[in-house]
Structure formats: structure tokens, C-alpha cells
Symmetry: C2
Subunit: 351 residues, 2 copies
């Protein structure tokens, strides 16, 4: 297969981890005789520094003519702590999601056998957890109208949703549930929010088309609790943008490290693959960043193009590295530990 | 001391747990020679059933002329699953908060020594945790303008904040931190939300008046993760309404049961005390509801009126009941377990 893949390494640890994922993809290409072409472009704080734009036009163009995008991470404290900055790295990511119509962010959460002891949660709580989170990604309070009064003493963000925005991701979630454990849990705050009540209404209707899938409802505050008390109760979680951001980061503790969690952001035309972790600038260039989330994002990319054997091989390589303890310090308590590129090399060699 | 206390038991397990708290308060009154007068009124689903109003005028009037309010819980599934219901139990609670100006919800989270093993989290993670969450309670997306289009296919909720709303609770949080471990963590989503950027700006300014308190910032997604990875890093958490709802329910897993967490909702004129748990209708009238959160809410009520010895005695009684395993099934694994009122009786006798 021929694939044009745009590589957007971004900030902080983004470039290091993305490099390892590219190594894995190259090894796959040579092993399975595929033709993968990689083109790199700037996004985030590096793009602001170079082009004064978190998502330069060339980057967006490249993404639009590529078959898939592999994204690293963005964010830099020099912008976080400057609330009046007009240009911010996050705008690059948010604009990319919006412009490419990547409305569904899919985040698998699994408890790896070899890592059961690394989680802050007790083993019997997490063992066997297998969740797929469907987070709406181009609507809600992220993209609603934002206002600040002239004197700067009043601000507002609008959270809005339309039936179509909810239907399209709901269908993806139900189809996924049909291939999994036949359960969808809608996480919302329908006892307070009008948008949540719309979600409940629309999702109930969509559910009727999937009679073999059970639909459950959970308020987001309760969901934040249940995720820790009993994560095994979940199969597919469906939720809006902001709640999905919070709940999926929280769920990352189940796996033992956020450095393991991959995600796919898909729309009707484009697809982007990215770790759910951030840019962790404090960890950049120290060789301590865990590349597994990025490598597994590459596996999700392959699955997206139905290259299931290829994706499976990457997953196997990752599991092997975990078993052999060829892992970065976040999940490795041995002192003389392995670097980011050591993990990448192992995966490459294994393939 | 003479105190007029309004009792609003509400729905589900609300009445049972509130009864136990009242028993504790009566025991305190007789032990310390106080004059506590209790008057009960309807709120929530019961109030809708009786008066077609989740917060009847008489109830609000009673609250306004009382010195403090002890609140049970509200909510009923028959309203949750009817998204088009015009009258909902939650409106009772939300209106009460707004009308009484209860802008700060204070939620202490502690890992009780005797319950360390009950938490889904590992002992070394939670041991020593002592957090006080300051959640803004009368602003944000809870109270912003809500809209639904005529055809019902579009909905919106407005999240807004003003400088004053942020300042007043920020001062409470910093004063609390001065009496605790001198650290405030502001939880927000300043990389996306305009309101969060306003929070950061205002809280930074307030912080200058408290030079011996350190101010930290954490994005809400990261906070949801850090709460589980390392809860001991927190002292006072300050946050807006919706994030506070999610983060504090999540934090409840640290104590081993949400049935232990009390809260105080205070404003410039009124103060209300309530468990953070909900109405759990499935558990109602079975004698299995944990009354400790409500009993500890009564202790917070006493502290509010500077009755510190009295409050301390209640806390001692609770700790004793935990030590002796006189506890409801949520935190008691022995089969022949204790009922809601058994716990209340023990606390009463102890006092
Ligand atoms: C960087 C930030 C804007 C982003 C988000 O909130 O969506 C990130 O946290 C994520 O989850 O991908
Ligand atoms: C019942 C509900 C409206 C309420 C809230 O979200 O504030 C509850 O969850 C709470 O935290 O007190």
C-alpha cells in the first residue's frame, strides 16, 4: 500500500516520541513491502516561534493532501502562564481538528498484564479493564463563542451542540460497541446542562438502530468516580468534548502511565493519530519520554487502513518490550533504565 | 448558643442520613447546653410531588430565617431519564445555592487511617492525603443562559464568570491555605477557555495579598490524573463550578467511600451543610446508606459557628465508629453489617 503520512512532531517531547513511531512505521513498510512517504511540518509553539502561527498554512495544506497525520504533542509553559497571549500553541491543534473535521477522538484504555503493578490502583480493580472512549472533538465549549469584556473583568465560553454533531459520533460509538462488549455508556451532566439533555435525547434515538447494544447513562461526576472504583464496568464510553478530555486523562492511570495511551482522531475525510499525553517540556531531550503512546498511535494508523497484521505486529513488539522491561523510567523502576530511542530501536528490530 | 437549623432531607437516602446527623446535633446540644431548634421542609423530587416545585417558597423562606441549613440529597431517576421534564429536583438545589448566595462549596478530602484498605487506590498513594477543595458554586456553566432551538435539534449552555465571583472565593481559599499547608492549586483549562484565563488572571492578583501561600496551576485534565497518581501533592484546590463537581467526586475514592464526604456551602449571609453524595434511590429505606457524610456535615456546621469542641467531638465519634467497624456495607466487608441508624445511634451514645 502507498501512504503519504504527514508528521507533525510539535513541542516538548513530541519530536522524540514521534521519531520512534516513524522508525516503527518504516520497519513495517520494509517488512510488508509498503510504500510510506513521510513529510514533516511545524505545529504548536515551534511553529509560533518560526512563523508566528501555531498552524501555518503549509502545514494545513500538507495535512489535507496526506492520507494520514501522525501528531506529536504541543504546548509550552511560556504561553500557559501568559493568559493574554494572542497566539497559543493549542490553537494549532484545535484548528487542525476543526479544519480537518476530526470529530471523533478514540482513546483505548487497557490494563497491560505486565504493568498491573505500576498503576496507583489496586490490581483487582484494573485487571481486565478494556475501554474505548469516544470523545467528541470539534464541538462543545472548545469551539463556542468566547468573549472577554473590554476591562477584562468578565469572560464567557459558549458550549453548544447540534443533533448532527452528536449523531455522527454516536454511530461510530455504537458500531464499535457491536464489535466489542455491546455496551455504550453516555457520560453527561443532563441534570444541569441543556446540551447534555440534547445528547441524551439524540443518543437514545441512535441507540434504537443498534438493538443488540445496551445504552447506559452516567453523570460526569459519578463517571469520574466509577472510572476509579470499577473501570471494568465500562465498554464504550461516549461523551462530549470537555468531559472526554477529563475522563480520558483520568482513565490513563489504569494503564500505569499516560505514556502508553494512543488515540485516533477521525472525521469523514481525514484521520490523525496522536498520543494523549502532552508535550511535557520538562522531560524534553532527556531520553526519558515514553514513546509507546506514539508507537501505538502508529498502530492505530495502520488499523485505520485495514493493515491489521501490520498493526498487530507493532502491538506485539510493544508488549514484548513491556515484558522484557525495555521501558522508560515512568514505568520502569530499575535505576539503569532505558531511553526513548532504546525503546524505539527494540520495536524496530522486533519488526 | 441558640441556633435555628433548617433541615432539608430531600430524596432517596437523604432523609435517613439527615436523621442521623440531627441525632448527633441533639446529643451535642444536650451535652453542651445549646439550644438548637430544628425545622424540616421539602426540597427536590418530594417537593415536586407534593407542591409541583423543587424549591417551594416556604422552604426558601425557612432557610432565609434560619441560622444554618442541613441538606440531605436530591434527585430521582424518573426525572433524569425524562430530558424534557420542565420541573426537576436539581433545580431545587441549584436555586437554593443561588438564592442564598452560597458561592463557595468546601469539600475536605482525607484518607482515614482505619479505612486505608478500603480505597481502590494503593495505600502508599493515599496515606496522609489531606485536601480541601474550594469549588465555586453559584456561577459558571451551571447558571449561564441555556437555550434549546424550537425543533429541539440545537442546544447551548453559557459558561461565564466575573472578577468578583472569582475574587471572593479565591480569598476564602487563600485564607484556608494560610491555616493549612500554604499551597493553593488553581484547576482550570486556561489553554482553551476564556473564563479559565480570567480565573488565572484574577487568582494571580489575589495571591499577591497572601505572600506566604504558593500558587500552582493545573489543567483540569491533568488534575484528574494527578488526583489519583499523587493526591498528597495537594493542599487547597481552587476551581470553578463544573470542574469542582467532577474533581471532588473523583477525589472521594481516596477516602474509600463517597459516603464519608461532607461539605459546606457558604456565602456572605447563609451557610448550608450537605454530604457530597447523591440521593441513591436504589439504596433508600434499606438501612444501608452511610450517614457519616451527613454527620460530618453537621460537624462542619458546628465549626462554622466556632463550636470547635463540639465539632471535634462529632469527628471523634465518627473515627471511633470507623475504628470499631460500626459501619455500613460500603466500607464494611463483614456480612452481618450495621445499619444507617446503628451508626447514628453509636455516634449519639458516644457524644
Ligand atoms: C492541548 C489541549 C488543547 C488538548 C485538549 O484539551 O483537547 C489536550 O489536552 C488533548 O486532550 O488532546
Ligand atoms: C445534583 C447536582 C446538581 C449537584 C451538582 O452538580 O452540583 C451535585 O452533583 C453536587 O455536586 O452537589
Amino acid at each position: 500500500m502507498k501512504l503519504n503520512i504527514a508528521i507533525l512532531p510539535g513541542d516538548g517531547i513530541g519530536p522524540e516520541v514521534t521519531n520512534q513511531a516513524v522508525k516503527a512505521l518504516k520497519a513495517i513498510a520494509s517488512e510488508f513491502n509498503h510504500n510510506f512517504k513521510f513529510t514533516t511540518a511545524d505545529v504548536g509553539a515551534v511553529a509560533i516561534d518560526k512563523h508566528n502561527d501555531a498552524l501555518p498554512e503549509e502545514t494545513l495544506e500538507l495535512c489535507k493532501k496526506s492520507d494520514a497525520i501522525l501528531f506529536g504533542a504541543i504546548g509550552d509553559p511560556k504561553y500557559d502562564n501568559n493568559p493574554s497571549a494572542k497566539v497559543r500553541p493549542e490553537q494549532g491543534l484545535l484548528k487542525l481538528r476543526k479544519e480537518l473535521g476530526l470529530y471523533a477522538n478514540i482513546r483505548p484504555v487497557k490494563a497491560y498484564k505486565t504493568l498491573l503493578d505500576k498503576s496507583p490502583l489496586k490490581k483487582h480493580i484494573i485487571q481486565g479493564t478494556d475501554i474505548s472512549i469516544y470523545r467528541e472533538l470539534t464541538g462543545g465549549i472548545y469551539f463556542g463563542e468566547k468573549q472577554t469584556s473590554k476591562d477584562g473583568d468578565y469572560a464567557s465560553d459558549l458550549c453548544s451542540y447540534s443533533r448532527e454533531e452528536i449523531e455522527r459520533i454516536a454511530h461510530l460509538a455504537f458500531v464499535a460497541a457491536e464489535h466489542r462488549n455491546h455496551k455504550v455508556t453516555l457520560v453527561d451532566k443532563a441534570n444541569v446542562l441543556e446540551t447534555s439533555r440534547l445528547w441524551r435525547r439524540v443518543v437514545k434515538e441512535v441507540a434504537e438502530q443498534y438493538p443488540d447494544v445496551t445504552l447506559d447513562f452516567l453523570f460526569v461526576d459519578n463517571a469520574a468516580m466509577q472510572m476509579i472504583l470499577n473501570p471494568k464496568q465500562f465498554d464504550v464510553i461516549l461523551t462530549e468534548n470537555m468531559f472526554g478530555d477529563i475522563i480520558s486523562d483520568e482513565a490513563s492511570v489504569i494503564g500505569g502511565s499516560i505514556g502508553l495511551l494512543a488515540s485516533a482522531s477521525v472525521g469523514d475525510k481525514y484521520a490523525m493519530f496522536e498520543p494523549i499525553h502532552g508535550s511535557y517540556p520538562q522531560a524534553a531531550n532527556k531520553g526519558i519520554a515514553n514513546p509507546i503512546a506514539s508507537i501505538l498511535s502508529a498502530a492505530m494508523l495502520l488499523s485505520h487502513f485495514e493493515l491489521h497484521n501490520e498493526a498487530e505486529l507493532i502491538r506485539l513488539a510493544v508488549e514484548k518490550s513491556l515484558k522484557l522491561n525495555i521501558t522508560t523510567p515512568d514505568i520502569n523502576s530499575v535505576v539503569n533504565t532505558v531511553t526513548t530511542s532504546n525503546v524505539g530501536d527494540f520495536v524496530e528490530d522486533f519488526i
